[in-house]
Symmetry: C2
Subunit: 165 residues, 2 copies
DNA sequence: CACAGATATTTCAAACTCAAAATATTTATG
DNA sequence: CATAAATATTTTGAGTTTGAAATATCTGTG
């Protein structure tokens, strides 16, 4: 049973916070805890097994889904990180020979970033290993709990979706 | 229904990954997505409303729960970040007058970090505002979904708990 | 007591991250 | 066409983060 708008308003006016508000805070703290723990584990595995980092993996993953490449701005929006952030990571991946920057016809401001053949091959292998790590870290998560988790998280995502153009 | 050990083993040997493994990966990516979006929102609010940052809030929150103060190592373990990281953040918070370092009797290696009176007062106010922000960001999350979310995330946490001493 | 190993913390270099400013280019408007 | 506004990206400065090395101190064993 969801709260309606006037309930929310009453909550905001109220000095002491409601039980629901506290439950939501606990939920957020638990999300944060799991997220940090799993990220820490994955970071260490990437460092040891791949000699690489999580942010680089994320960039490669995004470009593996979009084989024709993406613009810097698309990349940063898709990863939900700042524009300037992506610049540095892409620079390093270009240096490692995983990515190339391709100029865009008719728009000399922009460039498309895409995987090199080597980058594509490397990532394909890494993605399988990565999925195995995640499945192992989540091995107590049943199929139905995975679905439940995804459903609940989506309701949160959608509420906080970026406003339409 | 959970997988047993030999199912996991078969999965590892198997080149193609299972549906369950893919569901777990999707769950992880959704956790990551929500976690990033909410962190971004909170970061911005903290910057604008408090002129402060998320990591500083986290340190203050931990010390607000432990009024007698914590050692640097306890702090970094509790926040799941590296030791060296906490040093820098505590340095800044000491500079802002929110924290003090107190020497530990009988152990000159260690020091206890605790809130100053001003730090305690400031944080108490901020914590209420923060809880309101979270509740607003999670306003589509019902009480039962909050509980469900917490339950599922705890099973993941527990599996990945640090091994006992 | 000597001193090897353990423990607590800081320092360090490299990478990541953000927000804002700067740069370059394109588009729209008069 | 001139040029203001919009767009795409990079640069910059400050802060955060990590993992490893350095420093200081403590503890247990002989």
């Amino acid at each position: 049973m969801n709260m309606n708008h006037s309930d929310d308003l009453r909550d905001l006016m109220n000095n002491e916070t409601s039980d629901l508000s506290k439950a939501r805070l606990r939920a957020w703290l638990q999300i944060l805890k799991v997220s940090r723990k799993i990220e820490g584990e994955l970071r260490e595995k990437m460092r040891i097994e791949f000699g690489s980092t999580l942010p680089r993996f994320d960039v490669l993953a995004a470009l593996y889904r979009e084989r024709d490449g993406m613009r810097m701005s698309e990349l940063s929006k898709s990863l939900m990180v700042s524009n300037g952030n992506v610049t540095g990571i892409v620079d390093r991946l270009v240096g490692e020979g995983m990515l190339v920057r391709v100029p865009v016809e008719n728009d000399r401001r922009a460039s498309i970033v895409r995987l090199t053949e080597a980058g594509e091959k490397d990532f394909a292998e890494r993605a399988l290993v990565h999925e195995g790590w995640v499945s192992e870290l989540f091995s107590d998560l049943s199929a139905s709990d995975a679905d439940g988790l995804i459903r609940i998280l989506r309701t949160i995502s959608h509420h906080n979706e970026a406003p339409h153009d």
